[in-house]
C-alpha cells in the first residue's frame, strides 16, 4: 500500500513535469513574467517599511518635518503603483503563455486523434473522446491560468514576506514564523482527508447526471411502462447519497478551513508577545508593529490561496493522466510522406488476406480476388460475414495480418494517403453530413473545385432537384448531421460528393434504410451514372441491383463461399440460388394474390 502510494506519487510528478514541458517554447516570456513578479512583490513589500520609517522617525518622536514626510508618502504610493502596474503586466504575460500552452496541448490531442487506428474509435465512446479534447484540456487550462500562477505568486510572496520580516527584526520574525508548522499541518490534513471524499463525490455526481440524462431521454419509456414512481425513488437514493458525501466534504472544510484564520490570530498573539516583551525593559518602535501586522496579513493570504488551489491541482493531474493516455496511444503508420504515384488503371487485388479485429476470431480468412479496371464486383452475405471488413481494409481503416492487398499492382501500404483518399471513393451506408453549406458538403474543402463543378456533380446524380428546392440552394447551411434532410436526400448528397471527387475506384456500401419509392428510383439511376468508367466494389443488400455485376462474391463467416456472375450462380446449388429461388417463390405468390 505504502509502496503503491510512492510509485503513484512518482508517476504524478512525472506527469506534472510532462505538462510543464509544454511551456518550454515560451520560457523567454515566462522568465520576463517571473522577473516582473519578483519586482512587483519587492515593491509591495517595501511600502510598509516606508510607513514604518514615517511612524518611527516622524510621528512617534513628534518630528514634524513636512517635506520629508511628503517624500515618504510619495515613495509609499510609488511602490504601490509599481506593484499594481507590474502585477497587471505580469498576469497578462503569464496568461499569454498559459493559454498558448493549452492551445498547443489541445491541438496536439485533436491532431493525434486522426492518427489513431480506427479500432481505437470502436473501443472508445464518442463522448469520452470529445471530453478528452475539450473538458480535460479545460481543466489543464485552469491549472495553467489559475492554480500555477497563484501558487507561484504565493510562494514568492511568502518567501518575500519571511525575508522582509527577518531583515526588519529577527526575533519578531521568528515569533511569526513559529506558527507556520501548524498551518502546513492543517493544509496537509485537509488534503489528506478531502481527497478521497472529493473523488467519491465526483463519481456520485457523475452517476446522478447520467441518471438524469438517461431519464430525460427515456422518459417516454418510463411513462409507457408506468415506472415513474420507481425511477423517482431510485433517483432520490442517489440524490441522498450525493448529499451525504457532500456533507462529509463540508464537515472537513468546516473543521480545517478556519484553522488558517486561527493561526493568524495566534501569530498576532505571538508577535505582540515578541514585540511588547522587550518594551518592559527598553524602548520599542511602534512602526515596526505596523509593518509586521501588515506583513502578517500578506503572509496568510498566500496560504489560503494555495489551499484553495489544491482542488484544481488534483483535478488537473487526473485530467492530464487521461490526456496523456490518449497521446500515448500508438498511432498508425504514417502514409503522408509517401511518394505520389497516380493510379492509372484502378485494379484491385486481394491475395490470401486474413484479418482479425481481436487477435482471436478471424473476420476475414484467405480472401483472394481480383477486380480488373472498370469491372463491377459485388459482395453479398449475412451481417458479419466479412463484407464490410473487405471495404475497411481497402480504405486502410484497419491493418490486415496476412496476405497482400494490391491496387494497380502496388501494395496498399506504399500508396500515399492523399492519393488513396483521392482515388478511392467510399459511399457510406449512412452518409455523414458535415456542418456547413451544401456546396461545402459536396466539394469538401477542395479549393480547386468551382461552382459549376459542384453543380455538375449534383446534376449527374440528380441531387440538384432537391438542392434547388432549398431556400438558399447550394449555400443552404446544413445543421448538425444534416438533420433537415431526409435519408434519401443525404444519400444523393453523398453521391454528388463522390462524383465531384471523381475517384478511379468506387466503394459502395448500399443503404438498407427505408427510402420512399420516388427517391429510390433516383438513387438507382444515380448509382448507375456513378459506376460509369470506374472499378466498383459494392456491398449489396438488394440483389436486383447487382444482376449486371461482372463478378458476385458470396461471403460467409469471413470466407468467399461462392463466386461467379448472376447467371452462373443461379445455375449452381448454393446460397445464391437459394436466395434466388426464394425470390422466385415470393414473386409467384404475390402475383397469385394480386390476380
Amino acid at each position: 500500500m505504502q509502496n503503491n502510494d510512492m510509485t503513484n506519487q512518482v508517476t504524478q510528478k512525472q506527469r506534472f513535469m510532462r505538462l510543464l514541458r509544454y511551456g518550454l517554447p515560451y520560457k523567454g516570456l515566462f522568465i520576463i513574467s517571473m522577473v516582473m513578479m519578483l519586482l512587483a512583490t519587492g515593491a509591495g513589500l517595501y511600502a510598509p517599511v516606508v510607513m514604518k520609517t514615517f511612524i518611527d522617525d516622524h510621528v512617534v518622536p513628534g518630528n514634524w518635518d513636512h517635506k520629508a514626510m511628503m517624500i515618504l508618502g510619495c515613495i509609499f504610493i510609488t511602490m504601490y503603483i509599481i506593484d499594481a502596474v507590474l502585477s497587471w503586466f505580469q498576469t497578462m504575460t503569464f496568461q499569454k503563455v498559459a493559454l498558448a500552452v493549452v492551445h498547443d496541448i489541445r491541438r496536439q490531442v485533436f491532431n493525434h486523434l486522426f492518427r489513431l487506428p480506427m479500432a481505437y474509435f470502436d473501443r472508445e465512446p464518442v463522448g469520452r473522446l470529445v471530453s478528452r479534447v475539450t473538458n480535460d484540456t479545460e481543466t489543464i487550462r485552469d491549472l495553467f491560468v489559475q492554480a500555477l500562477p497563484q501558487t507561484l505568486s504565493s510562494v514568492v510572496t511568502l518567501t518575500g514576506v519571511v525575508i522582509a520580516m527577518f531583515l526588519l527584526d529577527q526575533t519578531l520574525a521568528l515569533y511569526c514564523v513559529a506558527i507556520m508548522p501548524l498551518v502546513f499541518l492543517s493544509i496537509y490534513l485537509y488534503r489528506r482527508f478531502s481527497k478521497p471524499v472529493f473523488h467519491t463525490s465526483r463519481a456520485v455526481l457523475s452517476d446522478i447526471n447520467t441518471r438524469i440524462n438517461e431519464s430525460i431521454q427515456g422518459m417516454a419509456v418510463v411513462q409507457a411502462l408506468r415506472q415513474q414512481k420507481r425511477v423517482s425513488e431510485q433517483f432520490e437514493d442517489l440524490n441522498l447519497k450525493y448529499k451525504r458525501v457532500q456533507t462529509r466534504l463540508v464537515m472537513i472544510n468546516a473543521l480545517l478551513r478556519p484553522t488558517v484564520h486561527m493561526s493568524s490570530a495566534f501569530a498576532l498573539a505571538f508577535m505582540v508577545q515578541g514585540f511588547a516583551g522587550p518594551a518592559l525593559v527598553g524602548p520599542v518602535e511602534v512602526g515596526l508593529l505596523y509593518a509586521f501586522i501588515n506583513y502578517l496579513d500578506r503572509m496568510f493570504e498566500p496560504l489560503t490561496q494555495v489551499s484553495m488551489q489544491m482542488q484544481v491541482w488534483q483535478q488537473a493531474v487526473v485530467s492530464s493522466e487521461r490526456v496523456f493516455e490518449l497521446l500515448d496511444e500508438e498511432p498508425e503508420p504514417a502514409y503522408e510522406h509517401l511518394e505520389h504515384k497516380p493510379f492509372k488503371e484502378g485494379s484491385i487485388e486481394f491475395r490470401d488476406v486474413e484479418l482479425s479485429y481481436d487477435g482471436k476470431n478471424k473476420a476475414l480468412d484467405g480472401i483472394s480476388f481480383k477486380a480488373e479496371p472498370g469491372q463491377f464486383i459485388a459482395l453479398v452475405g449475412h451481417t458479419g460475414s466479412g463484407k464490410s471488413s473487405v471495404m475497411n481494409l481497402l480504405m486502410r481503416f484497419y491493418q490486415h495480418q496476412k496476405g497482400e492487398i494490391l491496387i494497380d499492382g502496388q501494395p496498399l501500404a506504399s500508396i500515399s494517403e492523399s492519393q488513396l483518399r483521392q482515388q478511392l471513393g467510399l459511399v457510406f451506408q449512412e452518409p455523414f453530413i458535415f456542418h456547413g453549406s451544401v456546396a461545402e458538403n459536396i466539394h469538401l474543402y477542395q479549393s480547386s473545385q468551382c461552382k459549376t463543378d459542384i453543380q455538375q456533380a449534383a446534376e449527374c446524380v440528380q441531387a440538384d432537384r432537391f438542392i434547388e428546392q432549398l431556400p438558399d440552394t447550394y449555400d443552404e447551411v446544413l445543421g448538425e448531421r444534416g438533420q433537415s434532410l431526409s435519408t434519401g436526400e443525404k444519400q444523393l448528397l453523398s453521391f454528388a460528393r463522390t462524383m465531384a471527387q471523381d475517384p478511379r475506384i468506387l466503394l459502395l456500401d448500399e443503404a438498407t434504410a427505408n427510402i420512399d419509392s420516388e427517391t429510390e428510383q433516383a438513387i438507382k439511376e444515380a448509382l448507375f451514372s456513378l459506376r460509369q468508367g470506374r472499378t466498383t466494389l459494392a456491398i449489396a443488400h438488394r440483389l436486383t441491383t447487382i444482376e449486371d455485376a461482372d463478378l458476385i462474391m458470396v461471403m460467409d463467416k469471413g470466407k468467399i463461399v461462392q463466386r461467379g456472375t448472376h447467371t452462373q450462380l443461379v445455375n449452381q446449388p448454393g446460397l445464391y440460388r437459394d436466395m434466388h429461388e426464394a425470390q422466385h417463390n415470393q414473386l409467384e405468390i404475390q402475383e397469385q394474390l394480386a390476380s
Binding site: V59, A84, A224, N239, A279, D297, L424, N585, Q586
Partner: protein
C-alpha cells in the same frame, strides 16, 4: 436580491439553521474587532510608560481566546450554511426530477436534453451558491462592514473615517464596471468553447467520413482556428480579470496614506494617540473583505436569480396532457375507435390527422402503413394520450380514453417504439423494466419470444451484462429485440408495434410475428410497418397518407384495389425478395417465409 425572497419557503422551513448561522456571523464580526483595539491600547500603554507584564499577558491571552472563539464560530456557520445549501440542492433536484416524470412528450420536444441537463446541474449549483456564499456575503458585507465602520468612528472619530474611506466608493464603482465587462466577456468565451466542443464532436463521430474523404488536415485547421478564438476570448477575460487585484491594492494604499497622513496631523495636534492610529490602520485592512463581499454578492445573486427563474419556469410548466380522471382506475376493454375531426400538433400549422372513423376490433391484428408523415405514429400517440387529442375522440369499448387515469390507460398497452431506448442497467433489469418483480424464468421466456435469448447467452455475463456507457454496446437489432421482450413481459392486452422490426432481418421478424400471432395469449396487435409482407396475415390493413386513411381492408382486398398498397407491394416484391436480406437466405429463413406465404395462401 429577490432570490432570497423567492427562497423564503426554504429559509422559513430551516429558520433555526439560518438563525444560528447569522448569529455566528454577527458574533464573528463583533469579536474580531477586539484584538486591534487591544493592540492599540498596548501601544498607548508602552508610550505612556504604564506598561506592565500583566497587561502583556492579558493582551496575548485575549487575542488567543478571540482566535479560538472565532475558530469555533467559523466551524459553526460553515456547517450550518453549507449544509443548508446541500439540502436545498437536494430538494430542488428531486422536485425537478419528479416534475420531469410528469411531463408529456410534447415537453421533451420543446426542450432539448442538453437544456434540461443544464437546469439540473449548473442552475441548481448556482442556486445552491446563492443560499451559501450568497447569504455569507450578504451578512458579511452588511454586518461586518457596518461593524468595522462603526468601530473606526468610535475609536478615531468620523473625520478620520471619512478621510480613510474616501477611495472606497471609487473602488466600488470601478469593480462594478469590471464585473459587468467580465460577465460579458466570460459569456463570449463560453460560447467559443462550446463551438470548439461541437467541432470536436463532429470530427470524432464522423471519423470514418473524415478519413475516407481525406479531411484530416482541413479539420485540424478548422479546429486550430476555433481554438485560437477560444484563446483570444480567454485573453479578453484575463485583461479585465487582472484589474481586480491592482485596483483593490491601490485603493488600500491611498486609504492607508490618507489615514496615516491625517492621523499624523491629528497626533501632532494632540487629538489622537499613536495606539489609536495603530488600531485604526488594522481596522482599515479589515474593510477590504466586506467591500469585496459586496461586489461578489451581486455576482452570485444575479446568477442565482437567473437560475432560479429558469428552474421555476420549468417547474411551472403543466403537463400538456391533463390527468383529469386520476382517481378512476377502471380497466378499459373492447374495440378501439378513432373518430377524427382533424388534429394538428400545437404550433405545427398543418393537420397531422384529417377526418376519418377507424375501428380496431378487440383481438384482431391490424397493420398500418403509408408514407412517412402520414399520421401512423400520431394514432398511437393519441391512443396513449401522449398528446391531447383535440378533434379526435378515442374510445376503448365505447369509453373515452380520457375517462380513466393515465396510469390505468397505460396499464392496458405495451408499446414498442420506433427508436429502441435502453437504460444503463443489466439486460435482465432492462427487460424487467416494466415489471420489476419478474422472475428469471419469465424474463427468459419473453427473451426467447423476442429471439434475443441466444444473443444474450453469448455475452460474457449473460443476462447480467451491463448495457450503456459503462457496458456493452448492442447492435440496433439487438436493442430492438430487447425492447420487444420488455414490452412482452408486461403482458398487456393491446400490443402496439411502431415500426418495431425495422432493424431486424426478415427471418427474425417473421419468427417473432408468427410467435405473437399463434400464441395462446389473445391480444390485439397493432403493427405499423413499411414492409408490407408483414401484413399478409393482418385482419385489417390501413394505409394512411397526409393524415387521411386512403386505403382500408384485408391484404387481398387492397391488392385488388391497385392503389398505393398494391403498387408498393409489387415494388417490394422485387426488392424484398432480393431484399430478402441475405440473412433470410438460409434454410431456416426460407421456411419462415414459406410459412407466412402458406398462411397467406390459406387465408385466401
Amino acid at each position: 436580491m429577490d432570490i432570497f425572497w423567492n427562497l423564503g419557503w426554504f429559509f422559513k422551513r430551516h429558520w433555526l439553521r439560518y438563525l444560528g448561522c447569522v448569529v455566528c456571523l454577527v458574533m464573528i464580526a463583533l469579536v474580531e474587532l477586539y484584538p486591534p483595539r487591544l493592540v492599540g491600547e498596548l501601544v498607548d500603554a508602552i508610550q505612556s510608560g504604564s506598561f506592565t507584564s500583566d497587561i502583556l499577558a492579558e493582551t496575548v491571552g485575549l487575542i488567543v481566546a478571540v482566535g479560538v472563539a472565532v475558530f469555533i464560530l467559523r466551524n459553526g456557520w460553515r456547517l450550518l450554511l453549507f449544509g443548508g445549501a446541500l439540502e436545498l440542492g437536494r430538494v430542488i433536484r428531486l422536485r425537478l426530477f419528479h416534475h420531469l416524470t410528469r411531463m408529456s412528450p410534447g415537453f421533451y420536444q420543446r426542450h432539448k436534453t442538453g437544456d434540461l441537463m443544464a437546469h439540473a446541474t449548473n442552475d441548481i449549483r448556482s442556486v445552491e451558491a446563492s443560499a451559501a456564499e450568497g447569504v455569507l456575503t450578504l451578512v458579511d458585507s452588511v454586518v461586518a462592514g457596518t461593524a468595522v465602520v462603526g468601530a473606526m468612528i468610535w475609536v478615531c472619530g468620523w473625520e478620520m473615517t471619512v478621510v480613510a474611506l474616501l477611495p472606497f466608493p471609487v473602488m466600488a464603482f470601478l469593480i462594478s464596471r469590471y464585473s459587468a465587462q467580465l460577465h460579458k466577456r466570460f459569456r463570449e468565451s463560453q460560447e467559443a468553447f462550446s463551438n470548439l466542443n461541437n467541432r470536436v464532436q463532429e470530427s470524432v463521430s464522423g471519423i470514418r467520413a473524415v478519413r475516407a474523404h481525406y479531411l484530416g488536415s482541413a479539420q485540424m485547421d478548422r479546429f486550430a482556428k476555433q481554438s485560437n478564438v477560444v484563446t483570444e476570448t480567454n485573453m479578453k477575460v484575463a485583461r479585465v480579470d487582472a484589474l481586480f487585484d491592482p485596483t483593490i491594492s491601490m485603493t488600500v494604499a491611498f486609504s492607508m496614506l490618507g489615514s496615516l497622513g491625517f492621523g499624523a496631523w491629528r497626533i501632532q495636534h494632540g487629538a489622537m494617540s499613536v495606539g489609536e492610529l495603530t488600531t485604526f490602520v488594522v481596522y482599515l485592512s479589515m474593510m477590504i473583505w466586506p467591500m469585496f463581499a459586496f461586489g461578489w454578492l451581486f455576482n452570485i445573486v444575479e446568477r442565482g436569480s437567473a437560475s432560479l427563474k429558469r428552474i421555476n419556469k420549468l417547474l411551472a410548466e403543466q403537463p400538456d396532457v391533463k390527468d383529469n380522471a386520476a382517481d378512476n382506475q377502471e380497466r378499459l376493454d373492447g374495440d378501439i375507435r378513432f373518430v377524427s375531426q382533424g388534429f394538428e400538433y400545437p404550433g405545427s400549422g398543418t393537420a397531422a390527422l384529417k377526418e376519418f372513423d377507424l375501428t380496431i376490433r378487440k383481438g384482431s391484428f391490424v397493420g398500418i402503413s403509408g408514407r412517412t408523415g402520414g399520421g401512423k405514429t400520431s394514432l398511437l400517440r393519441l391512443l396513449l394520450r401522449q398528446h391531447d387529442a383535440k378533434g379526435v375522440e378515442v374510445t376503448i369499448g365505447g369509453q373515452r380514453n380520457d375517462s380513466v387515469s393515465l396510469d390505468a390507460l397505460h396499464s392496458r398497452f405495451a408499446l414498442v417504439a420506433q427508436e429502441p431506448f435502453l437504460f444503463s442497467a443489466s439486460i435482465s433489469e432492462n427487460i424487467a423494466f416494466g415489471k420489476p418483480g419478474a422472475t428469471q424464468e419469465e424474463i427468459e421466456e419473453v427473451a426467447r419470444l423476442a429471439c434475443i435469448h441466444d444473443d444474450i447467452l453469448n455475452f460474457k455475463d449473460g443476462y447480467e451484462t451491463q448495457l450503456g456507457e459503462k457496458g456493452v454496446n448492442l447492435s440496433g437489432g439487438q436493442k430492438q429485440r430487447i425492447t420487444i421482450a420488455r414490452a412482452l413481459l408486461i403482458d398487456a392486452d393491446y400490443l402496439l408495434l411502431d415500426d418495431a422490426f425495422c432493424s431486424l432481418d426478415m427471418k427474425t421478424e417473421a419468427f417473432i410475428l408468427d410467435q405473437l400471432l399463434n400464441s395462446n395469449r389473445p391480444r390485439t396487435l397493432i403493427l405499423i410497418t413499411q414492409r408490407l409482407t408483414n401484413l399478409q396475415l393482418a385482419d385489417q390493413v390501413v394505409v394512411m397518407d397526409k393524415g387521411e386513411i386512403t386505403e382500408q381492408g384485408s391484404h387481398k382486398a387492397l391488392l385488388a384495389q391497385q392503389g398505393w398498397y398494391a403498387n408498393i407491394f409489387k415494388r417490394q416484391a422485387n426488392a424484398i425478395a432480393a431484399g430478402l436480406d441475405p440473412e433470410a437466405a438460409d434454410l431456416e429463413g426460407m421456411k419462415q417465409v414459406a410459412h407466412i406465404n402458406g398462411a397467406a395462401s390459406d387465408a385466401k
